[in-house]
Symmetry: C2
Subunit: 376 residues, 2 copies
């Protein structure tokens, strides 16, 4: 069994932990951030550059790849790794969240979820078993069970009902998984529970009882206030075991990540660094900035004076603004490299701080004096 | 004087020559192809990747950079090289061709050309002196005099008149240039003459008499038939001296380049490899292909089985088609890398063939058995 999770250090003041997740395609140090390769590429940036930034694991979307290019193409390619020329670890989601957020139509039944493709309107039925079969073809290293993402807001009765369905689907997933040859791939369960603390704890307990290789917190960042998100996260984590990796799906901002790490989360994915880059929004040690802003027209400093990324070492804000305003494609590459570097460097600093027993100071500093913390 | 041009080999059967152009920023082996960085970037690809393909010199557009970001920004950046992070040679055009092809309005007078920006409609007057002043701020290594691009078709009287104006502007350019400190940059003259052989020869003679560091053939590829283009090229070249570099502006296809090399041209620029890449049109040793084509859906071969570029070594047609259809930005990077490699490799093969005294066979083979020639 390759799926082995070791906790190397525990922070004494928070629940943060430094871990090592051993997968069949290499070791991942946690807490880790996973850049998002929605349709089989990290948008605008080739794989070597992504690995050059220190990326160990990326997330790809089952929903997108299932609809386009479709399973047959990826099967004939020998799986997603060779299709997209990515040698390191791939985690795939189950498609449940994209069915919730993207599909033109969604009808949840006991069997699975009926939906219409956002691309061509074609009709599909995604079942827990199919979600795993798709991921088997993708041959990802870490796979997720199909869950039901509960809308926000949602009343208690409905949330309870959908959470129960998530549990029945998780059970079916586990049964299906045990009959397949999984070649050392890992399967993670997902806890739901809506915005109700007791349902969250109960869901986590039920999912943990099924014994997955790791546990994810689903259904957060769906529009709820941030405090509520953190409360629900805390309730869920309280019922997760210490000795398995914990994954907070689709979250979030650097601040969200810091809070979640303090609560004991090990894994994150989010489109923010890449999507923001394409929109010209940049993460810096001094906060966010928009490269479109007129004052950058003749600002010959790098995006972030404290950053050592390729883009900051070689280009000025003035140049990047010029490229952005002119619609020059190179700018998406340059800004994506910077934002991914920012996120990956943040995670490296978090891990270092935990290892050195100063995570709480690091976190406090991040809020108080961003400019000093992320330098070097 | 850095601008020194050596002819190393002459083909015995054609007028092709292998040369070495020594510039203040490095040596360029000719015949050479210059990728186009219109607005200060090779679209979609960072500079190191462009140099990694063997690029020694790129072309940037004076017209575009003058309008956006404007001279002040580039002056404050310390010139175009540092603005765009390009260490090798930059050739800039004079802006004349873009005023002809892009501006909303163009009125040619003795003093210069009045035009309205295609970006914001602002009015400008580009004179021969201003064209050189702009290029001085850009601090390009090879600069072009302002000429008048003659439309096609154009009657003899008008062509003669506009060619005479080009000559007066060249004279003014030369006078202006001699009063400036040029720090080893080179200045090339441009011959016009419309589609009239005698005017072409006469224009070349007049321009050569002014003694520039190199000579360009302007006003071709403006809509005329290919045979006519080659005739006019031949007439112009017949009056150019042997011992200066000869530049055919804005041309062209691989076939055009082969013919022009055979006629003694040393330098080329063209948007074809980069623009075609963005439209999904790929150059291969077996001809052009469009990556959108349905049969590529499950074609797991590289773009060109005979190509050793990064893209062909790592990606299949099926993957590239998937990215293109999905609008994934990475595809512009990957296809641009391939097409530029194709052009640069073609030039390297041309130089090798001239050096080895077998250019004529190479050229004949290119037409007859493309698939064998460009391999390895």
């Amino acid at each position: 069994m390759w799926g082995y999770f070791h906790i190397l250090e525990r922070d004494t003041h928070t629940k943060a932990r430094l871990g090592r997740l051993v997968t069949r395609r290499g070791i991942i140090e946690t807490p880790v951030f996973m850049p998002v390769a929605t349709a089989g590429s990290i948008k605008a940036v080739p794989p070597e550059v992504v690995t050059g930034l220190g990326t160990r694991v990326i997330l790809a979307n089952t929903y997108h790849l299932y609809l386009r290019p479709g399973l047959e193409i990826i099967r004939q390619s020998g799986g997603l790794h060779s299709f997209m020329n990515w040698q390191r670890v791939i985690l795939t989601d189950s498609g449940g969240f994209q069915v919730y957020s993207l599909a033109q139509f969604r009808k949840i039944q006991e069997e699975g979820v009926h939906f219409k493709s956002h691309i061509d309107g074609s009709e599909h039925l995604l079942t827990p078993e199919l979600a795993l079969e798709i991921q088997e073809v993708l041959n990802s290293d870490i796979r997720m069970v199909l869950d039901v993402c509960i809308p926000y807001p949602c009343d208690r009765k409905k949330a309870k009902e959908l959470t129960a369905l998530t549990h029945r689907w998780a059970e079916r997933s586990k049964n299906f998984w045990e009959k397949r040859e999984n070649k050392g791939a890992l399967l993670f369960g997902i806890a739901q529970g809506g915005m109700f603390e007791d349902l969250r704890r109960e869901s986590a307990r039920v999912i943990v009882e099924m014994d997955f290789d790791g546990y994810a917190v689903g259904g957060l960042s769906v529009g709820e206030p941030r405090d509520l998100m953190l409360e629900m996260l805390s309730a869920t984590l309280s019922a997760f075991p210490e000795d398995r990796p914990r994954y907070l799906m689709g979250v979030g901002t650097p601040e969200d990540i810091l809070e979640a790490v303090a609560m004991g989360v090990d894994m994150f994915d989010c489109v923010l660094p890449t999507r923001n880059a394409r929109r010209g929004t940049i993460f810096t040690s001094e906060g966010k900035l928009s490269i479109r802003n007129a004052p950058f027209k003749n600002d010959f400093r790098p995006l972030d004076p404290n950053c050592q990324c390729y883009t900051c070492r070689n280009y000025t804000r003035a140049y990047l603004r010029h490229l952005f305003i002119s619609g020059e494609l190179l700018v998406y590459y340059l800004l994506t490299v910077h934002n991914l570097y920012f996120y990956l460097k943040l995670m490296a600093k978090i891990r270092k701080a935990i290892a050195e027993g100063r995570f709480m100071e690091f976190k406090a500093d991040f809020y108080q004096r961003k400019e000093e913390i992320l330098c070097g």
